[in-house]
Amino acid sequence: MKPARFQYHRPTQLHEALEMVATLQNYKILAGGQSLMPMMNFRFVMPDHVIDMNRVSELSGIHEDPGRLVIGAMTRQHDIHRSALVAKLCPLVPEAYDQVSHRQIRNRGTLGGSLCHLDPASEQPCFTSALDGEIQVQSLKGQRTISIHDWTQMYMTPALESDEIMTRVTLKPWAQNHGWSFLEYARRHGDYAIVGVAVLVALDASQQIERVSISLCGVAAAPLRLSALESSLLGQRGDDRIFPEVHQHIEAIEEIMHDSYNSSTYRRHLAQTLTARALGIALKRALMVH
């Protein structure tokens, strides 16, 4: 299973890469390669040009801006997973990475690559959605910022123009005393999630839910923020009474994806189960730091 012929490009600076994507037809960006190379080896994709971004060092790195966690598109998943800064600001993220594939994949895979590949089962778009992430893209014409909530154009297609390259992801950390949980169901450890959920919750002084974010992967082309459920949970205490609401809101989701392996009924049930469990864990954590 060898890839078809292609022209290989290896920019070392972002502007070189921007020129390439502005001029080349039928290209693919090679980031970590953990999703693209299998598809090329199977000849499911046969680009004429491969633009290897691994030398564009300016796209790697993690830093903090006021109220923001900024991660370069080419930052390795392993580096994010083990970053003390990320753990401090967004503990949801390392917990998600515990469940992303295997160490060998995370060593090479990048956050940007995952967000552009946009597999509905992927954990990374899901936690980005829970954290109201913003994606910065650049072209020769300039920059723009796209909310994660507008990022999915359709199945496995991000809202990226053909002359644009994603440069960074900005996550919005929650205040320190929040609870979080990332749970997924996968057939085996490290497999793609069938369904996964990212939950963030903050309680007010009287231990009522003051803010909550719930995002599901594996139910739609885009990570699904359960905004209606979030609204209905506000002001409530995190006790057993909220779980029927979780069940009902997810029951009410009109369309849940299915494939030949996992039906939408099953995915819906998983979503209900995992959301309830994750909410329970997040609430416990929120109480502990309260």
Partner: protein
């Protein structure tokens, strides 16, 4: 149209200057161009782990890297894990004693993966060793002997570390440090 690109890399401590096809995988390059056939190709889509090597001390699927991407990198394959005097390393010896290999095809990937684990954690729990190899498929052993070998190696490396800390760090395998 197919370009060959000149790359320079170190493999098992030895420098190489090679001209390589841009569509050749690192796995195929190691096997065909450098004749290092210890890295095995099992699936070519990144799941089985038989092709796992160390690139700049970190595990990577050699079937999912283009050889040209290893330019300027330090690569360690299974052939680079034995001791300098060609005796089996602590980890390799532990594999032999634990009957941690049968057909041997997944073994190079298991060794490089556990080499990375032990370089970072000399006191892993059984669960940690088990989890470390979830990305490496084995169809022969049922995994338990491999996990036993990992724990045995860790125990011995710790003991050696207590005796001679500087020496122990080189014993996690070949040229990984």
């Amino acid at each position: 149209m197919q370009e060959d690109i000149q790359i320079h890399l170190t493999v098992n401590g030895k420098p190489h200057d090679c001209s390589v096809s841009t569509r050749k995988s690192l796995a195929d390059f190691l096997r065909q161009d450098l004749k290092l056939t210890g890295t095995h190709v099992g699936c070519e889509h990144g799941v089985c782990g038989a092709c796992t090597v160390l690139v700049n001390h970190q595990t990577a699927r050699a079937c999912l890297m283009l050889a040209v991407q290893a330019d300027q990198c330090e690569v360690t394959t299974v052939e680079g894990l034995a001791n300098a005097d060609q005796t089996l390393s602590v980890l390799q010896q532990a594999f032999k004693e634990s009957h941690a290999l049968q057909c041997g095809f997944c073994t190079p990937g298991m060794l490089t993966t556990l080499t990375e684990l032990l370089a970072e954690n000399l006191n892993p729990t059984e669960d940690e060793v088990r989890e470390a190899i979830t990305g490496n498929l084995c169809r022969c052993t049922g995994y338990q002997p491999i996990i036993q070998a990992g724990l045995l190696a860790a125990q011995r490396l710790r003991a050696l570390g207590e005796q001679a800390p500087a020496q122990a760090s080189t014993l996690t395998g070949g040229s990984t440090r």
